[in-house]
Every structure is written in structure tokens, then in C-alpha cells.
Amino acid sequence: MIEKPFFDSDIAWCPGCGNFSILRTLDKTVEEAGIDRKQLVLVSGIGQAAKLPHYTQANVFNGLHGRAVPAAVGIKLANHELEVVITSGDGDMYGEGGNHLLHNIRRNVGVKAFVHNNMVYGLTKGQASPTSEIGFKTKLQVHGVMSLPFNPLAIAIAEQCSFVARSFAGDPKHLQEMMVAALQHKGGFALLDILQPCPTYNRVNSFKWYRDRVRKIGEEHDPYDRQQALDLAFRWGDEIPLGLIYKHDRPTFESQLEVFKKGALVAQYRQ
């Protein structure tokens, strides 16, 4: 009931949050890759992760919770010259937005999805997310989570997603490698699941917890081998594999459209 105006916000993340590292790494990646920020669109839904686009320089479409993927795909189809990158949370992408992920992997439009997977709903103050582990207790899941965690990598591989990788916010070097690989990928939809500690609401899967478990997958792994890839995707617990887990080559949506031969839709608009 105060009548005073408020002040404008600084970065709304908690100190120590894994999101900071993702933001810094994304910025570094974009700089080093020489991506023109005017050609870059960051798309997000709603959540703590989804605030990322506000904290850097890019075109921004910060849409609805769960709907980053269709918005990104719409943008990419209207102007496939743009680099369209989704940066959003696990609840956003795997929970509310599950159907879009499922069907856009099939559609194979060339957008890149960077999922800040903190295994919890941060912004709404700590409920379980689809990736929360069994037994994870919250104010809402008072007896702990009972559903099997959603395995984004396994699902994406089962759908023959064109690019599937995992990295960790606590390893910015690896994260940058994966971001670069995703951005360089020209084969369609790319999913990069990023393990992101949330020190505030996920005290179980902490930085340390991850650091003790993550293992970079070796050179010998053939990402085109679905069987091997699935095998890696199912690994969780004592060892959590990081890296480019799966690739599948098939035509992108954009490459198959007659209409796009004449250039981006938006460039074709003459008036």
C-alpha cells in the first residue's frame, strides 16, 4: 500500500546459483564465436532460468511458461537466418512444455534448446520438477517425490533428436564446448541439458553432489550409435555422463520447404 514507486531490478538470482555460470558461459560463447547479437534471439518461458535473456545483449522473446519451444520455432520459421536459442528451466521445458519438446524434436527445426536443469521449480519456491529424484521432499511433496524422474536425454534419443548433449554449470569449459557444438550444429533441433545447482531449493543435488559424479564421456563414444547413446542416457547416480551423447542426421524442416528456397519468409515479404 506504499505509494512510492519501486526501483528497477538487478539480476534476480540467488548468490551462488548455477544460472550465473550458464549466463557467463553463454556470453563468452557468443563473443568467441563472433555471433552477431542482432541476429541472435534468446527465447525463454517463465522461471528463474527463463530470466537469463534479460541479463545479456540479444533479441529477446520471453514468452509464457512452458511455451518457449513453439515460440522459438515460430521465430525460426519466420526468419531462418536468425540464430534462435532457448534458455529455460526444466519445469518449463520438460513439465508444462513437454508436448512441444516431444513434437518439435520430430519436426527438426533448427533451434537450440539450453535447459537449465536444477531438478526443482525455483521461481515458485521449491516444488518438485519432472527431473526431481524419487524421495525428494518439498513443501508440496511432503512425503517425497513418487514419480520416476523424466529422462530428457533418453526421450530425445528415442525420438532420434538430431543433437543431444549434457553439460554442467559447474564446468564452464565443458559447458562452452557443448554450447559451441550446439550452435555449430546445422542439422536441426538441438537439446543441451545443463545440470544446474540451485542452492536455495535443491539442497540434495548441490554443486558438490554433481562434481562428485559427472564424468566426461570419452573420445571413443560414437554419438551416432543409438544403443551406446541410450546406454549413457540411462546412467545416473554414481556416475553422470557429460558430453555430446547422440547425433542423428536427417533433413531439417527448413531444408525441405520449397518456400524457403526464395529466402527467409520475412525477407520475402515485400510491401
Binding site: H54, N59, F61, N62, P70, I75, L77, L82, H103, Y269
Partner: protein
């Protein structure tokens, strides 16, 4: 001269093919036509029919009874025979039957060297002959329709039509169809008109999840996509559809989606998104009776109050409701223009009745004339997407240009970035809502039909245009004093204008295909009328003019 021909049969029997062929034949001969379709939510069986009304003056409504019933099976004959006017004829696909003209269409088709599916052509030939109509129209229609399939198919069809005509020779003269007149020879359905208008206006991205009765629009667009340079994509669900067009619109192309009530319900969150992001999306809402799945293949006007108020929070929108295929065309273009001028979502409401109406249409321009997107091509470096302006409309740039374009579903500052600053909130909310004034100044005035001094005004919106218009003629012809006030834009409303037109009338009746008189409620809500009578129908069938005239007790 005013005849109603009813082709009726089970789903899968070719009711639609025969009907289309006949409408095209009559219209091709410059005869005024008005056709409607009535069908069930099934793929085979049941009872569907296709009414083709032809006359020597422009038509706007269907009629209750038929002058010529073409019954494609026996059930149909039994069900619909009673709805044939005195002096009318029945053409029956079957063995001889009391008082009907009986032809076994399929056998006849095969006899003359055609295949079973040419039974429809036999029927069409018989109808054209029965009405004493020129046969060349049908022949050239068949040539156009089947030309792609080769001469053989064309010839067989022509033979079928001729045979059909031959077999009804005895009955020629019992019914007389109207002469050719000045009617436009092109015909168009409500849904086709919308698709064509969208394509020519520069819509570049269309995505929908199929839903009757809206599907015809996206199907039409899929077929002209290459010609006009459009991406047409089936969405995984309606939520995807609306969010995809929000994305595409942000990126700079006019984009649209098509749906019906249940799908629209799923799009409502996205509609509010477009309101907040100030995106000129276009939603086509083809109504059908609810609640829920309701009667999926029937007609209704039950989603008006829902569409006008759909979405959380407050934001400007414009809602259109064309009354004829021509208006479907004109208003789709206009709605897209308004959306882009004011950077806000628009909804165009039709329904199953109007979706399927086919009528002679003059001047549906098929040439590509993209609308002005009102885009700033060279934004300054310090560009702000949501600059506060007096009109509420901010200069719009698109990503990929010289400036960064930031949009956010959270409340945001002028730069598009999220804010918690409550003064900024009010400034931006006010800015958005000021666009309502522009929208209001551009509101389409309602159409007045009938004598200026009419005592009784029928208020119509959307697809009731035709039936109400003809009802006015009927009422006045029988000594009444009626006029119609038809709204093709139902939101926002120009209250003073409406008050002026309605002031001092003896009677006002809102004619609506719903149960509660939703448009009347809306008029009351904005303060445009206080009391009015209601004439409603909500069984899933459209009004016919005679019905309105009859039910309006003087």
C-alpha cells in the same frame, strides 16, 4: 423464381461433390445461388444434405423446405420427403417408388461406361435437366473438374450427365429454374474467402490443429501455400499453434491460426500473451455448438462473450464477425490491417453455417497485395520496443535489424525488459490500453438494411446477416416495418453511434444463434441499449429467413 434443391444422403455418398458441381454449374451461368451444408460428425452413414437455392435475385439465406429433393438412399427419402414443398419433385436414387422420379444412379453410371463414383454426375445431369437449364454449363464444369484426369474421364462424366438428363425427360417442365442474370459467375465459401484473403494480404505463416468447422481455412491455405509463399504447418496442439504464431509475428511476418471453441479455449493464454507483447496475431474462430465437444458439425454463435473477454488481465483487441463470404474476405484483410496498425491481437468469428455457405461473389481479388506491417526498417541503435506514445502504438522493429528487439510476458519497461517498478507498470498498461481509442476510431459501423424509419430493428451479428436481411424483406412485404442493424465488428463498440441508430424505435430484437442473447448482453454492457427482445436458436441449425419472419410476432 426461387427454387431450393436439396441433395441428401449418407456421409460418403457424394452429397458434397454433387452439390458443389451443381452450385458451380448454376453460378457459371450467372444464376444467383446460395448453398448451405448440413452434416453429421461421422465419415460414413447418417444423414447429410446440401441445399442449393437458386433465384433471379441475390440470395442471402437458405430455406426450410425443398422444391427438389435428391434422395441418395431410402432412409433419406423417408426422413426428408415431408419437407418438400407442394408442387415439388423428388429424385430418388433407387427403384421405383410412389410419386418420385426414380433412377438408380450407380447402375446408370456404369451402364454408360462410367464408374460407380460417377453416380453423382448422373444426379447432377438429371437435376440440371429437370430445371430446364442449359446443359453446356454442366459440361464445361465437368471438363474443368476432371480435365486433369484425362479426356476419357471427362467424356464418361459427360455421358453420365447426359444419361441422367435423358432419364428425367418426362418430368421436364414441372419445375422451372431461374434464368441467367447479372450474378457473378464466381462462387466462394466463407472459409475459402478467409483463406484467400489471408494469402493475398501477405499472411506467411499459418499453423493450426484441425478442428471443425475451421479446418477448411487451413486446408485452403495449404493448397495455395506454394503460390503465395506461405508456410502451413499442422501444430501438435492449439497451444503450440498460438505460441508459434506469436513467435512468427514477433519475427516480422503476418501469421494466423484457425480453430473452434475448444481449441480457442486452449489458446486463451496465448491470446493474452499477444496482448502483452503487442503482437498482431490473427485468430480465426469457427464456432459450433458447445459446451465442450457439443455438436461438432453444427452451427452456433455461442462464443461471443467468451471471445471478447478471453484472456487474463486487460488488453485491447478487435473482434470481427462477417456475415457473408464477401465480408469474410474483406474483413480478414481489414482485421489483419487493424492488427498491424495497432499491434494487438484480432479475432475473426465465423461458424459452421457461414464456413460452408457458397454464394456468387464478385471481386475476390486473387492478386498478392500484402498489407502494411507498420515496421520500422531502420530502427535507431537506442531503439525501445515499447516507447510510450500518445496513441499507445510504439514504433515496431523486428529482430535481425539494426536494433535489439526485446519482448516479455512479464510487465516490462519501455525497453521490453522485465520490471517490478509499479509506476512503469501503470505507464505501460496505460500505453497498451490507449490503443483502444484508435481501435474505436476505426470501428466498422454496423450495416443498416431496410427503411430508415423502420419501427422494428432486428439486431444481427456475424452469420445471421443473410437470414435477417431476407426476413426484413419478408416482414416489410407483408406490411410490417422492419430493418436490420448488422454488426460485422463486435468489439470494441461505438456506443454513441449505436444509440443514435436505435433511439426511438418501437421494438428491438436481437437475433442470435445462442441461448442467452450474448450480443444483446454486450450491447447492454457497454450501455448501448437497455432492454431488447431476443430471438434465439441453439439446436445447431442456422436460422432461415422465413423462420425469423414467422417467429417475430408483429
Amino acid at each position: 423464381m426461387d427454387l431450393n434443391i436439396r441433395i441428401a444422403g449418407a456421409a460418403g455418398q457424394g452429397v458434397e461433390t454433387t452439390g458443389d458441381l451443381l452450385v458451380e454449374t448454376f453460378a457459371g451461368q450467372a444464376v444467383h445461388c446460395f448453398s448451405t451444408q448440413t452434416y453429421m460428425s461421422r465419415i460414413r452413414g447418417g444423414l447429410n444434405w446440401y441445399d442449393i437455392r437458386i433465384a433471379d435475385r441475390e440470395l442471402f439465406s437458405g430455406r426450410g423446405k425443398a422444391d427438389l429433393l435428391v434422395a441418395l438412399n431410402e432412409d433419406t427419402l423417408n426422413w426428408l420427403r415431408a419437407d418438400v414443398n407442394d408442387g415439388g419433385l423428388v429424385l430418388f436414387n433407387g427403384a421405383d417408388n410412389d410419386g418420385v422420379v426414380a433412377i438408380e444412379f450407380e447402375s446408370v453410371a456404369k451402364e454408360v461406361g462410367g464408374s460407380a463414383i460417377m453416380a453423382n454426375t448422373v444426379a447432377a445431369g438429371a437435376v440440371v435437366a429437370l430445371l430446364g437449364h442449359d446443359f453446356t454449363g454442366l459440361e464445361s464444369g465437368l471438363r474443368e473438374r476432371f480435365g486433369r484426369k484425362g479426356d476419357e474421364v471427362v467424356d464418361a462424366n459427360i455421358a453420365c450427365a447426359r444419361k441422367g438428363a435423358e432419364l428425367v425427360a418426362d418430368h421436364v417442365g414441372k419445375l422451372t429454374g431461374p434464368e441467367s442474370s447479372d450474378a457473378p459467375t464466381a462462387i466462394c465459401s466463407g472459409n475459402e474467402a478467409i483463406g484467400l484473403a489471408a494469402a493475398t494480404a501477405g499472411v506467411k505463416f499459418v499453423t493450426s490443429y484441425p478442428m471443425t468447422p475451421s479446418t477448411g481455412v487451413i486446408t485452403f491455405l495449404a493448397n495455395v501455400a506454394d503460390r503465395y509463399g506461405i508456410v502451413v504447418e499442422q501444430a501438435e496442439d492449439e497451444i503450440a499453434a498460438v505460441n508459434m504464431i506469436c513467435g512468427a509475428t514477433y519475427a516480422g511476418v503476418p501469421a494466423m491460426t484457425t480453430t473452434s471453441g475448444g481449441g480457442f479455449a486452449l489458446m486463451v493464454e496465448g491470446l493474452a500473451l499477444a496482448g502483452m507483447l503487442e503482437l498482431p496475431i490473427y485468430i480465426f474462430l469457427g464456432q459450433r455448438p458447445g459446451p465442450a465437444t457439443g455438436l461438432p458439425t453444427r452451427t452456433a454463435q455461442q462464443d461471443l462473450l467468451f471471445a471478447v473477454h478471453a484472456g487474463h488481465g486487460e488488453f485491447p483487441r478487435a473482434v470481427f464477425a462477417p456475415g457473408t463470404p464477401q465480408q469474410c474476405y474483406d474483413l480478414t484483410r481489414h482485421a489483419l490491417e487493424i492488427a498491424h496498425e495497432y499491434q494487438t491481437p484480432v479475432i475473426l468469428m465465423s461458424d459452421q453455417f457461414l464456413a460452408d455457405v457458397r454464394k456468387n461473389c464478385r471481386g475476390l481479388d486473387t492478386s498478392y497485395r500484402p498489407i502494411d506491417r507498420h515496421i520500422v526498417q531502420e530502427p535507431p541503435e537506442d531503439y525501445l520496443r515499447y516507447t510510450v506514445t500518445e496513441s499507445g502504438v510504439s514504433p515496431r522493429a523486428i529482430p535481425g535489424s539494426k536494433a535489439l528487439v526485446v519482448v516479455d510476458s512479464d510487465e516490462h519497461a519501455e525497453d521490453g525488459h522485465i520490471t517490478d517498478h509499479l509506476e512503469v507498470r501503470v505507464r505501460l498498461q496505460d500505453k497498451r490500453m490507449r490503443k483502444l481509442q484508435g481501435l474505436l476510431s476505426d470501428v466498422l459501423p454496423p450495416d443498416w438494411y431496410g427503411p430508415t424509419e423502420a419501427e422494428h430493428v432486428l439486431i444481427a451479428w456475424g452469420s445471421t446477416y443473410g437470414p435477417c436481411r431476407e426476413a426484413v424483406d419478408l416482414i416489410n412485404a407483408s406490411g410490417g416495418s422492419a430493418a436490420m442493424l448488422h454488426f460485422s465488428q463486435v468489439w470494441p463498440l461505438n456506443v454513441d453511434g449505436i444509440r443514435r441508430m436505435l433511439g426511438g424505435r418501437k421494438r428491438i430484437t436481437a437475433v442470435e444463434c445462442n441461448q442467452t442473447g450474448q450480443f444483446a448482453s454486450l450491447l447492454r454492457m457497454v450501455g448501448a441499449v437497455s432492454e431488447c427482445e431476443l430471438l434465439t436458436r441453439y439446436d445447431g441449425m442456422p436460422f432461415a429467413a422465413e423462420e425469423i419472419a414467422r417467429r417475430i410476432a408483429p
